[in-house]
Amino acid sequence: MNEEQLLYAPTHEWVHVAEENGERIATIGISAFAVELLTDLVYMELPEVGKELIQGEEFGEVESVKAVSPLYSPVNGQVVAVNSELPDRLETLSDDPYNEGWILKVKLAGDAELANLMDYPTYQKQCAEEG
């Protein structure tokens, strides 16, 4: 996935929306910037398929050697797929955060809340301020 064409939440999750079998499916991951901030990851907890997510609410957590950080859902919808290999191969998150490092696929409940997300240039600006 091309990081410049993704949408971003202020909490550093990325979203890619695509049409699949007539459904609007969002693929969700965390940005390279966030992975760098988290440093060395040791553990990850993900939701089950079927779980309903609400934008801005926690859906899982990642633990690094420094701290446990919550993961926040950037969209409203239902989890339809989880990258279950990820917790055992956390290095994928830093090696390939936008492709192999995807975390969830979510069937969108609606498009309206996508307007709360940032495009790439705006997100870059936020990262520059935080970094």
């Binding site: 633990e63 420094k66 701290a67 970094g131």
Partner: protein
Amino acid sequence: MKDRNTPLIFERSRPGRRATCMPSADVPVRPIEDLLPAASRAAEPPPLPELAEPDIVRHFTSLSTRNMAVDTHFYPLGSCTMKYNPKRNERLASLPGLADLHPYQPEDSLQGLFHILHELQQMLAEISGLPGVTLQPAAGAHGELTALMIAAAHFRRLGQRRTKVLTPDTSHGTNPASARMAGFQTVTLQSTPEGYVDLDDLETKLDEQVAVLMVTNPNTLGLFDQQIRQVSERVHARGGLVYLDGANMNAILGIARPSDFGADMMHFNPHKTFSSPHGGGGPGAGPVCVSQALEPYLPLPIVARVDSKYRLIQERPHSIGRVRSYFGNVGVLVRAYCYIRTLGPAGLRRVSEDAVLNANYLLSLIKHFLVVPHGDRCLHEFVASAAEVKKTRGVRGMDLAKRLLDYGFHAPTVYFPLTVPEAIMIEPTETESKETLDAFAETLFRILEEPLDRLQEAPYTTPISRPDEVQAARKPILRWTCD
């Protein structure tokens, strides 16, 4: 990794070797089957190591020489208040009238200890301004849990369903953890860029579901939240309670009373503020003080003075019950009592004034070569950031912390609070001399000049250099298992 092969105590074990000879029993010996039901008996004895006394002493003494302790090194571990523990308190706590007591002794023979504990309750009430005191919790986080259980009991009795606990993003990790453990949902409050509770964010998140705001003041950035009364008033206006995490009391003893800035409940860390030893997982204590309205819910027992004698109150209708066996970590409490009695009110105030002075002096030296994002003044500790040197040279906070060990300084706290990138949290405490503070600052300055690879492989002088923290967390190597 010079001596990674130091044998474990289990590897030194030889069958049948003993350190003590037990005298023969002077009561009739009964088979274990008569004493314990089958379900309570293990099939085999536990696999304990078997060693002679000199081997045990050498093993642990040798391990102890690897420690960096406040008795051997400057220990500026922010948020932990690793202050020097005066030896006088050790001597007093070792007096046979205290050290040799047994909790099952008749109460009449424990009057001296009860006198101390009762006075300690009163001292903590005076320092906090909160009259109800329990000495039972075994550590700070246990105090947090106890207080949240008190809050839950309070709202249950009022018939209010309150499910949320608010914690600022700078709070100690124990705060949200205790809230979850007590059955609450946690909501994080954002801080302002200056490091204080964001009143607008508080307003958005404050509702009738909020049971408690847990706040640390001065906070983990070493700043006294100047709006703390407004924060408390807003929580109170919605019927919520304010809990003060007392970990940073070393900055405000005798200067600010938590009840005056709105706290309804708080814990003390005697092992920080009142200099009983801590670290290495040794016992701490976490006395909790509460307002009069919350006193009925305190855990039991409580020491009370009844008809010129001290008695343990064992029953109260609204108490949350017991949180600890016997009477808490009495040895720690006795040391705290000795410390408070030795210094007195004026001395305690001086402790905080000197702790704040030392931290500000060190800040004034360090700010010239490391960014201190939250300004030129602090209370008992401050947070510097290695983010700038990471950007320019790739040097991380962890590298500096590790290299300091080679120069004989315990590392400061790093990567906390989470709101400061590459945080280096420094708390010198009140007992350090100007020479020590100067030497620490100069060393940090010199380390920053060292080449990157030199820093990345530090430390060089410790028995183990730099463990692989990721592998240690994900695939720990266990050198000994019991089967």
